[in-house]
């Protein structure tokens, strides 16, 4: 019973192992990067657009609108990071249709890496927006006593992000494997459809939570009071 794609070894040389997680991550990166490069070679701004360009435009404007709804005011600053998170996790779970493929997010190392990226990105964007002292002041926000709790909440948010995504992806593949040994044909197909749905929802949840954390780190703390209207 394979718990994760870490255990599929494709090639081994001494201490360096090329396991399923690495290979599938590289394949996903290749598809995303090369696919986007090919589609955006000849962008047109007229009325005639290729289907692929329309697809990319739908995806990009959709993500931009979602980021703006969360409360981040200049989505173009954050769409690189948040959009990549969403597209990587969504494509990782979408490709489970392909036989022989295991989602790399079903391994705790991948999800921990993604959660660590969010952990680093939140102070990065916070300091970029508010300066170092402004961002550090947010840790003592209600009172100084809350300082350890704020730090603990940062770390536990990161852990929750990693374990949530890992648990959902791993349970999807494991349920499928167990059901295939119990009931043939129809029930495993229904469960794999459910797995696709939860994969998409988890991709959305991961990126929206990252956006909410970044928004809470970059929001304006003390808005300037409006000047009183002269009668």
């Amino acid at each position: 019973m394979r718990l994760s794609p870490d255990e599929m070894i494709f090639w081994q040389h001494g201490l360096f192992k090329l396991n399923g997680t690495i290979v599938f991550t590289w394949a996903l990166m290749f598809v995303l990067a090369v696919g986007s490069k090919l589609i955006t070679r000849k962008l047109s701004t007229g009325l005639e657009r290729s289907r692929w360009q329309s697809l990319l435009e739908i995806v990009v404007t959709g993500i931009e609108k979602q980021i703006e709804d969360v409360g981040l005011r200049h989505p173009e600053k954050y769409i690189g990071f948040l959009g990549t998170l969403f597209l990587f996790v969504a494509l990782a779970s979408l490709c489970t249709i392909i036989p022989g493929y295991e989602p790399p997010t079903g391994s705790l190392s991948t999800t921990a890496a993604l959660a660590l990226c969010v952990l680093v990105a939140v102070p990065f964007f916070g300091i970029e927006e508010q300066g170092l002292s402004g961002y550090l002041k947010s840790y003592v926000e209600p009172t100084v006593i809350m300082l350890p709790f704020n730090i603990i909440s940062e770390l536990s948010r990161t852990l929750a992000l990693a374990v949530r995504l890992f648990g959902n992806m791993m349970s999807g593949t494991m349920i499928l494997a167990i059901l295939l040994t119990v009931t043939p044909f129809i029930f495993p197909i229904a469960m794999s459809v459910l797995g696709l749905l939860t994969g998409m929802v988890q991709a959305y949840i991961f990126s929206i939570l990252a956006a909410v954390y970044i928004a809470s780190a970059t929001r304006v703390r003390n808005p300037k009071p409006e000047p009183a209207a002269k009668p």
Binding site: V163, F166, G167, M170, I205
Partner: protein, 93 residues
């Protein structure tokens, strides 16, 4: 009862109890969340997208509690360090 039997028994029983008890709470919580979301959708259909998005985020946070219990259960069944230790001892002897 030797330690191998004891560890196996404890792991199996705990794995079953973990996932059984651990899915009661999130299921009740998600039911309440969806019920409240539906009633607010009925009251204000115009903010359907905001309500739906917040509902999904809330459901994911509640679901992660059940996922934690599931992960512990899986670890007890498939990656149990105590079981591996006693098996290694038993086969090493």
């Amino acid at each position: 009862m030797d330690s191998i039997t004891l560890i196996a028994m404890a792991s199996i029983v705990t794995a079953g109890l973990t996932i059984a008890l651990g899915s009661i709470g999130p299921a009740l919580g998600e039911g309440r969340a969806v019920a409240t979301a539906l009633s607010s959708l009925a009251q204000q259909p115009d903010s359907a997208t905001t309500i739906t998005r917040t509902l999904f985020v809330g459901l994911a946070m509640i679901e992660s509690i059940a996922i934690y219990c599931f992960v512990v259960s899986m670890i007890l069944i498939f990656a149990n360090p105590f079981w591996n230790h006693v098996i290694a001892q038993a086969t090493g002897k």
